[in-house]
Symmetry: C2
Amino acid sequence: MTENEDDILDRPAADETHDDIYDEEGSVRHDFLTMVGAAIADRDVIFLRQNVARLHESELGDLIEAIQPDQRLAMIRLLGDDFDMTALTEVDEAIRMQIVDQMPNEQIAAAIGELDSDDAVYILEDLDDEDREEILAQLPFTERVRLRRALDYPESSAGRRMQTEFVAVPPFWTVGQTIDYMRDEEDLPESFTQIFVIDPTFKLLGAVNLDRILRTKRQVKIETIMHATNHPIPAEMDQEEAAQLFEQYDLLSAAVVDENERLVGVLTIDDVVDVIQEEAEEDLLRLGGVGDEELSDSVAETSRSRVPWLAVNLVTAFLAASVISLFEATIEQIVALAVLMPIVAGMGGNAGSQTMTVTVRALATRNLDIHNAFRVVRREAGVGLLNGVVFGILIGAIAGFWFQDVNIGGIIAAAMLINMMAAAIAGILIPLALDRFGADPAVASAVFVTTVTDITGFFAFLGLATWWFM
Amino acid sequence: MTENEDDILDRPAADETHDDIYDEEGSVRHDFLTMVGAAIADRDVIFLRQNVARLHESELGDLIEAIQPDQRLAMIRLLGDDFDMTALTEVDEAIRMQIVDQMPNEQIAAAIGELDSDDAVYILEDLDDEDREEILAQLPFTERVRLRRALDYPESSAGRRMQTEFVAVPPFWTVGQTIDYMRDEEDLPESFTQIFVIDPTFKLLGAVNLDRILRTKRQVKIETIMHATNHPIPAEMDQEEAAQLFEQYDLLSAAVVDENERLVGVLTIDDVVDVIQEEAEEDLLRLGGVGDEELSDSVAETSRSRVPWLAVNLVTAFLAASVISLFEATIEQIVALAVLMPIVAGMGGNAGSQTMTVTVRALATRNLDIHNAFRVVRREAGVGLLNGVVFGILIGAIAGFWFQDVNIGGIIAAAMLINMMAAAIAGILIPLALDRFGADPAVASAVFVTTVTDITGFFAFLGLATWWFM
């Protein structure tokens, strides 16, 4: 390592700042990657300890994703005990699996013992049963019991995401006793923003925010300053539902309780932020007709995951084609129709997508429900009508001029108007209907909406032309 | 009010639970709406105080959105001082504007004096200059100065979203002094999770989380337990960038500093969650070709906001149509081509949308950058090739069988393969290029991608057919 590199990188841990390892675009800096790569090749443990081990877990995660796949395990081996396993919760699932599969179970067990329970569960839940059991067997009893209990809750439930470390005190303690307890106790969670109040059976009685404790005189009893935990989260609750509670009530953390209302853990906002991100991402990907795919998936995996919607689209495309085939005789006479017909279908598809996007989003954010559905449908129909008239006239004029035929202009204008209305109504009713029947409106809306606009577009345009000309 | 309703609704304030006012689908319960409506009509202030005033601000916001527009102001008037103005930060912008416009400025000023500064700014920033000045003039001096300063920062900046209330202490204070200060001081923020350490000029020196204070003995000096604030947020920073820092470093709150690194406020995770939601929503809406529209916008507003993309689509649709018109002679001979050509274009469009969705999302979450772009392009081309072969053969077989012509089957299969490859490459290169040139990749990708797949689809299919048959 040269003197110069030393200057750039060798700062004390407290000074880790955002621009340290990232370039202006938020990617890991290229010169940093080169240096880390060289250090791995040279087995330069000192450099890695000084410059990699000190990174924040999310920075380390980004670094792991950015280096070459074959460098990843080598770097983790070189770091040894200095490797912060939490970083693995910050990388793509595929990369995490790859790394964990190749690490010896003993090392994973040792590292997992150091993690907060929610991070430990995050890593353990992806392992196959055999490896998981082997790792759990190597953990201390209480740790093992805690993790097993969390892993017993359903996937994507609050119980899986919760942290089993928390501070809980009896209601008759005073503020002074509570503060003294926290000063003396070694085994506290790494950070927390509220403490819980429980009875001897661990039943949840309330919670106190830390600022409340700090403002209160020592002799005051906890029960007089605790607040009811308005939103204790059942461990079985889906993480998405829990996230909605956090958003709605601006929670920082919330108690997680079992079926007997006993406190089993705490769900914190940082995990919830990840859930919110994932959910938004899922909506977007589903609307685009792709599943839960990651950039690190292979070609074969990606191809396979995209086949279902392409296959559905294949059926609907032939459906639309069969509508066209009804009018072969007309097209044979007036080829201009074949030239123009995709315009009507395409514009309708676009308008339908616009309405559908707004509808899916409104359903996801609960801004649309049975009470205002009728008003929203009426509004969308109005928008369809207005834009249908505008673009009908425009397209009619252009097409009439192009083919020097006022009849064709009139027919395409009328077809356009009909299809824009159909697009508006399909764009709202299809997601609403899917939602009503318990299906995710983001998943199948696009394909149904374009089917409606294709078929309506072809039928209206070719049908009107046949009726008029033939 | 009957005895029975009383049972359902008249619970003590501490007991407000999620299922109180919502039905199973998360909408405000219909019977509750009816009762509130009746109470407004009857001017039943007691009912409203007991059942509406006690709601959480977000519940009150949902209620305001759910009742009839003409009931909203009436309810707020009846509630008087018991109306929690914060609820207005939880409703649609259009509804908020409507309500605030009709409220007398004196009442707004009185209510705003009670709010946290971030909520006050949220409401003030939408008002026109005259009303805003009139309201500000009625506030106490310090309050006015604080709000003015926040309002001076650019829209959507951290300075606008920050709270100007915070706890700051000098570094030489002990933990004991700090706790005593908090016990005695009346004017503390409503809730907080960390306190800041400043020098006499308000320059930020560090921060201490509350749990750290509670674990530390009274005689210990603050400067020995404070941590460097690794991510102080410049007040001018865009809120989206600030939100990314929160996500990356799992922050609960962060200091906001001015250009001289003096502490001016604190940004909290609950505001950041809203920003994250908004940004995800924006991406989704932009991909769907709609702007920042709200369900409460009028027909005319909505129509207008959707016109730009429909207009662009109009141009591209005619571009595609002009490709078809090149082959009019061929279509006249073989009408089957007109029937089948939308299949090639449509399937390509769908495949392109899939790739584009993944690309836009990967760019937004910074999983895709210049370093891995080449690998991702290669992978997408592979996916396009694989799915092109699969669906080419499938469609070729169906089309050949349908029109009893093996030539048509072969031609559509080849065109399909070409278009799927084009779709894959356009689906990734177009968003990447837009991003490279500083444009939002979500905004215009869809229209460009479908233009490529339409034109390629028509050209490949009709071109191959012309070359083969003519």
